[in-house]
Assembly symmetry: C2
Amino acid sequence: MTVALSSDGNHSAAMAQRHLPIGVFDSGVGGLTVLHALREALPQESFVYLGDTARLPYGTKSPESVVRYATQCAATLVARGIKALVIACNTAASAALPALQARYPLLPIVGVIEPGAEAALAVTRSMRIAVIATEGTVQAGAYRHAIARLNVNAQVTETACQVFVALAEEGWTQGLIVELIIRQYLDGLFSTAQAPDTLLLGCTHFPVLRSALRTVLPENVVIVDSAQTTALAVAKRLQSEGLLCDELNRHGSVHFLATDGAARFARVGSIFLGMPLETSEVDIIDV
Amino acid sequence: MTVALSSDGNHSAAMAQRHLPIGVFDSGVGGLTVLHALREALPQESFVYLGDTARLPYGTKSPESVVRYATQCAATLVARGIKALVIACNTAASAALPALQARYPLLPIVGVIEPGAEAALAVTRSMRIAVIATEGTVQAGAYRHAIARLNVNAQVTETACQVFVALAEEGWTQGLIVELIIRQYLDGLFSTAQAPDTLLLGCTHFPVLRSALRTVLPENVVIVDSAQTTALAVAKRLQSEGLLCDELNRHGSVHFLATDGAARFARVGSIFLGMPLETSEVDIIDV
């Protein structure tokens, strides 16, 4: 159905659209680091976050299943009314971004992969970039391929740092244990003459380890946080489409949805969100 | 269909049954510690091991789903011909043992929970037992309930040691990092006057950390390994049912099945099995 709007009506519709929340989804709680970065970059915006905790992890599922799950998550958020969609999950962004863009051609959709790849290329001087991610992301080569699409001369080393995920979920983000584990994974890589000068955090869990990484890594290494770079990409995209909320004094709200386990979502999610989250704030839904 | 057998036929049937393999299943590779213990206890027996890697982890799924998955795994193994079934997965043993026993009343079925609970009660002198397990097992209280069913006076402390799972899967089973993490989780528990004298390893991943745990824990603490105790329970059950393989010089075979990811199964599985495992040895099947 097409509705003919007066110029006033068009104006109101655009205003209403600008006040819609931004939808964000992930297979679990890791994407809350992206939400955290989005809220810092865009404090006046509202968000609805969906963690598909009943079906996590996506990383070990087939690409077809991931596309199906991502489509269901997107449809759930679109049905609630959103003005943009952020895929805050490396596996889903890698597998399902084109399918979601095809399905919702008018909706701005941003995944976590490309912004991180672009930012890493923007800061590296040696063109040697290290990516740390989960085993699934490394195996799929998501960042390696995204960086190569932008610049074939970049040398990308990908390291699976699976124990970081457990540390982050346990809330162990500082101290001797964390530093020793970082050294165990990365000392070899950063102690050679041909060491990378850029470290891209290619897993949504890893931003909470950023300060420990900073302590351990050589000073010249720039850490690129794909949560922050995704937030900046979303801000830029909304700006260019005239969709930024224009009430600059507004303090945007957040609505949390999960497909299972509100208590764990709230407990572990607090670590990634960087602020307390109560079980009662998490609505359990089917997608 | 009932087949009337001559006494000779009965004898041959019993003999043939004794030579059937023992079926073992888990949601992934952790159950290979149970297989390792079974092979040490019963070297002449053959085994068929199924890791439902496509649907792991079971720990975060609903009990109904776990019962359905476990039933499918059991049916797959029964269809291949087995003389006994071992549920080498805490979540599946806790949720599905009664359902599987009801479905296969003539098949000896052993889960990992009860043998561990019995063994812990057999060795404790103070009646204070510590259980370490995954978050899911602790939340379900599987060992706490199993121990309480056997002796209401036992005091059981359950600690979720989620980072141990990642360490075990990464093959980090010894050294400073592992010892510091053990201390982080357990020092508080074992440094009090009312400390437990028994530590039950309530996760199939944890036997590979046994020697590191031994280094860190007070000398008086007895470590009960539920993989070993399950293997002994299986041996006892086969003995009592006259199903032990009677060719004592035979060296039993093992057939590995998984529902996804043969390469990862082989690589990570080697750690738990305690011997090299090649990708080509793992058959991928649907259940």
